[in-house]
């Protein structure tokens, strides 16, 4: 376990040494503040569009941080050949995968906390009430969703050697699931065979990341999702993450590290 935590610590340090997070946070803050300063019909109480823009930027930034950080972990170790002394410690490949995963996940979690603190301050200062519970729930569900995304990126980085292609493919897959995943069943109903079966198979196989997107509930003040549903969604995310990490380990276990 200590080995895994040591690897995790290295990844977290890497996040705060790199500029990605700072740039994304400053951009999010600047765009949100600029949007909030626009005067629409001299009404200072208008707030939902600011929340909308801010949460959208948080989602994009968090996805960027998660995918880019996870996709470069193993290829970077291989390219700089630090993977050899690492595996000679001795550290098993399973521990490397777990350490990298927890590192990326915790690093993304830290970034999310900063983003949501900013969101809560912006939203609270305009609405005059502080949506801490809603923010906490939105943060938790987004973080659970990012666990799947990080595991998917790690798997991608095993399959594809170049981090750029892994990043691009992961972005397309994640964006596709978020935008279309929940509607595949509706589309499938109106399609002829065998397309219908193919669409249904994809629908039941993919992780439904759109469940974890509760931005609308936060923006329109619809209240919290029930605790039971939150726990079930977390278990769902944990199951998919475990499956993807297992596949990553299976791929990594047989892989030759000589480039």
């Amino acid at each position: 376990m200590n080995t895994i935590w040591a690897l995790t610590g290295v990844v977290i340090k890497e996040l705060y040494r790199r500029k990605d997070f700072y740039v994304l946070f400053v951009l999010t803050a600047l765009i949100t503040v600029a949007t909030g300063m626009v005067n629409f019909f001299h009404d200072p109480k208008i707030v939902r569009y600011v929340k909308d823009v801010c949460l959208l930027l948080i989602w994009i930034s968090a996805l960027l941080i998660a995918i880019v950080t996870a996709a470069r972990q193993i290829p970077a170790e291989r390219e700089s050949r630090t993977i050899f002394p690492l595996l000679a410690k001795p550290v098993t490949r399973w521990q490397v995968i777990l350490g990298k995963f927890f590192g990326c996940w915790l690093a993304t979690g830290i970034a999310l906390i900063v983003f949501y603190l900013f969101f809560a301050v912006v939203s609270g200062s305009r609405e005059q009430h502080w949506p801490w519970l809603a923010c906490l729930q939105a943060l938790w569900l987004q973080w659970a969703m990012l666990a799947i995304v990080i595991a998917l990126s790690l798997l991608g980085s095993i399959v594809s050697a170049a981090p750029s292609s892994t990043t691009t493919i992961c972005f397309i897959v994640v964006a596709g699931i978020l935008m279309l995943g929940g509607h595949l069943n509706t589309v499938a109903i109106h399609e002829a065979q065998p397309l219908q079966t193919i669409l249904y198979t994809i629908y039941f196989l993919i992780p439904h990341l759109e469940w974890f997107d509760i931005r609308d509930r936060v923006i329109y003040d619809w209240g919290l999702v029930s605790g039971v549903d939150c726990v079930l969604a977390t278990l769902y995310a944990a199951a998919y993450t475990a499956l993807l990490l297992l596949l990553t380990w299976l791929g990594f276990r047989r892989q030759s590290l000589n480039t």
């Binding site: 750029s164 109903i189 509930r217």
Partner: protein
């Protein structure tokens, strides 16, 4: 030569955007849309109309607090709730509230996913309607020739937020961008009549709106009968309140020609005729 996936993606996005811009502009060629020169028209050209339409839809999404069908929900494209509300069609609004585009859950994924989505049909109320204003402002900036933006925005500013001056300013901006628009003139008249109680000004503006309505092509007149009904019926009400019963009857009769409920208007005409007769037959007041 090996192209990077990012470059390919950027190229595809550019092609999509260009194609969409080209297709969207065709049906509208030949009108006076080129008159508007703001930042958006410089940046996006005719492509801004796509954004304007999207911003207007966003206003409707906000009006429903996020409960809104996606393109996959295969619901027939109807009139937007904000437009129905701005025409005072409360029944349509209520009917729409009972619509359930989601239907029954199709499977366990759909059922569980609904616990995280907004599944209740509501409309903004108690001055929360202000939340739709940014999107209407953006729609007006991106496409100043989209008349609905001004009429809907002014309706909510005036009727729901009690800000007739802002509503009037918004309509006047719309009128500058769309000179002679009878919809905007009708909205202006409504503010003068209902909020400022300025009967003469309201009458003049509505009569101008009516003249402009008749200047349309016969095809457009056929498609926009509802507007004639609205203008004529409001003119009739104005004249009735001003005590000009003969004029009121004349406007009601005009409205009757295009109204979906001519019988209801006939009742009002009969009532006015009865009033006119009783006024004529009433004994003169004895001289002091």
């Amino acid at each position: 030569m090996k192209a990077s996936p990012c470059l390919l993606l950027a190229l595809l996005l550019t092609v999509c955007f260009t194609l969409a811009t080209s297709l969207a502009s065709r049906p509208l060629a030949g009108n006076d849309r080129a008159r508007a020169h703001n930042l958006f028209s410089v940046l996006f050209g005719d492509g801004r109309r796509m954004f304007a339409s999207q911003f207007f839809t966003m206003a409707d999404v906000y009006f429903h607090s996020g409960y809104y069908p996606s393109i996959f929900d295969l619901r027939e494209e109807g009139t937007k709730a904000i437009v129905s509300a701005s025409h005072g069609e409360a029944e349509t609004e209520e009917d729409e509230k009972h619509e359930d585009f989601l239907g029954k859950p199709k499977d366990w994924i759909d059922r569980f996913g609904r616990h995280f989505r907004i599944t209740e049909h509501t409309h903004l109320e108690h001055s929360q309607e202000r939340e739709i204003l940014p999107w209407l402002r953006l729609a007006a900036d991106t496409d100043p020739q989209m008349i609905q933006t001004y009429t809907v925005g002014a309706y909510f500013l005036c009727q729901h937020l009690n800000r007739p001056q802002d509503a009037e300013a918004f309509l006047r901006e719309g009128l500058r961008n769309n000179p002679g628009s009878y919809e905007i003139l009708f909205g202006l008249g409504r503010i003068y009549f209902q909020n400022y109680h300025d009967v003469n000004r309201a009458r003049n503006v509505w009569q101008l709106a009516l003249n402009n309505w008749f200047k349309q092509s016969p095809q457009d007149q056929k498609e926009n009968k509802r507007n004639l009904d609205e203008i004529a019926a409001n003119l009739a009400n104005l004249e009735r309140e001003a005590g000009n019963y003969a004029d009121a009857i004349r406007w009601f009769q005009l409205a009757q020609k295009v109204s979906p409920a001519p019988d209801a208007l006939q009742l009002q005409i009969d009532e006015l005729k009865a009033k006119m007769v009783s006024t004529t037959n009433a004994p003169a007041a004895p001289p002091r």
